[in-house]
Symmetry: C2
Subunit: 338 residues, 2 copies
Amino acid sequence: MADIADVARAAGVSTATVSRALSGRGIVAPRTKELVQRVADELGYVVSASASSLSSGRMRNVGIVTPFLSRWFFSEVIEGAQQVLTAHGYDTTLYNLAGEANQRKIIFDEFLLRGRVDAVIAIELALTPEEVRKIHSVDKPLIGVGGEIPGVRTISINETEVARIATQHLLDLGHRSIASLGGVEQFETDFHVASTRHLAFLEALAGAGIEPNPAWDLTADFTIPGGYAETAAMLAASDNRPTGIVASSDEMAIGAILAIKDAGLRVPDDISVIGIDGHDLAEFFNLTTVDQFVRHQGELAATILLDEIMPHRTSPAASNTDMPVKLVTRGSTARPRA
Amino acid sequence: MADIADVARAAGVSTATVSRALSGRGIVAPRTKELVQRVADELGYVVSASASSLSSGRMRNVGIVTPFLSRWFFSEVIEGAQQVLTAHGYDTTLYNLAGEANQRKIIFDEFLLRGRVDAVIAIELALTPEEVRKIHSVDKPLIGVGGEIPGVRTISINETEVARIATQHLLDLGHRSIASLGGVEQFETDFHVASTRHLAFLEALAGAGIEPNPAWDLTADFTIPGGYAETAAMLAASDNRPTGIVASSDEMAIGAILAIKDAGLRVPDDISVIGIDGHDLAEFFNLTTVDQFVRHQGELAATILLDEIMPHRTSPAASNTDMPVKLVTRGSTARPRA
DNA sequence: CTGAAAGCGCTAACAA
DNA sequence: TTGTTAGCGCTTTCAG
């Protein structure tokens, strides 16, 4: 592999000029720049990432730390962020916390601090103050997506609002018998998304003067099978069924729809179902949902981070960014039958 | 940040000894090693990735190149590979080829060759000879998952066999009116998975002396909506329907099941459906499928790669590894009604 | 088993 | 605008 000295020699300039010409940093005469670039191309020269990083301190690499990879929300955020990063010449290194618990410590200590990344995106991760401190101590920009972390800039939606919008949609349609298909907090590190949304659900009901029915207070694991099982159990348990269901995720909502159909009932005629997410499959299942533009959350996180890393540094960006959400009305919700 | 000299000083040894003690390479007296490790811990010392890489040539980083991130097969492979890599102290850098076409060239030239990775895993990517040459020219181990690449070691299943098993399962049950719900080749870079499977389907039919019905030759994009639409269209087009459907992916099979139900028919009573994949949702939809152990394919790819990178280098591993597949019988297939 | 010292290839002051 | 040069922090011969 040709190195910078080879290029310098072939172009008849110094290595410093080659560096400047190729990196775009510093001033180089246009014709010199052109010459260097041509020579570099001819020689098939590519800068050595490690040498460049060692001397400059820049890695051109952003770490994404996530508890899941194959779940919709997470892969969507990753894809959004990655696309922006790649477009700006940044690599994306993935740290998956799915494994053992102490892998988490290892990842923080050995990987992030080893200086492999310029910045970190944490997806739906309740970082401990200790972890936040560590990252900040090595002076790396950190941004969270999907849950607020004390002392850390975060991209997220207003969980209360999104649940309120969903519930209100059913109330506005005239429903008064409404079930909640909420999520369960699975980990100590969770963000209480589930409880926040449930609270908003209850408040919306209260605002309409409705007493919640405990038998209609379902919780599942955010997945289709989970939503199905809970809904099926509720329908099997009693003939007294709700006319509407507010699900905390689109996948659970889809599970609910399937359960309702399997029980010989119809959506929305017998039961209306609304989800939260804006999942790829929502349209297929004709699901009314509150879209939270997940991919865009990832894109924005990457954009903000790049802004902090790159020379320009234009927009300082607000400390916590509340993303907009939007009710998307489809065929799974309707007025309850008289 | 403490550097290696700080540790050496505090431990009263040379930097060379610190390096040896901490990296495990070279011989160090047990007590010296222990001492160094303790001192390093106390000082919170972590090796600088770039410095280490520059001087050693090792990156402790494997690149995964994939055309998709959020599709089941791909995220499954990535998760499997990543888990193994992380467990061995390797980072995983993701290169997503989803964007523009020329991003592909950039990724190869600027990223992989820039020496950021020690090895490359390519998921379902038909690399051009030129791309393979480039990677080999920089002497980086490369392994493909899910499609054979000339001159490259590959982990994959026998596409012919998997389709034959699926078709044969229906034949064995006594079906003689069988539809094919195959995939479409979406990209020039595809591996003809779709056509290979379709061929095997036809061969299996021929073996049973059955003439395929052109009206039952469906193709879709491997997704649930795609499978649904094709199946629904077929059922709507004529009363002459098959008693079984062989789908080239579980998601399409699920779409078919939903379409059959929506058409007022039952699975498997009216129509049997079998998929190929071993998708997470197969169990939920009670889908008979041919499991191809995708996650395991990712794990194996990573294992083989590490084997090439790491000092030990035990197993040379075969040049092309055909993964086993397994028929998983569930409730979506049964004997056709008399 | 340990230490000395020569780089690894590039960037960024500083000078010119 | 360009060149000179001193590192960046670690690994790895080579000696001892």
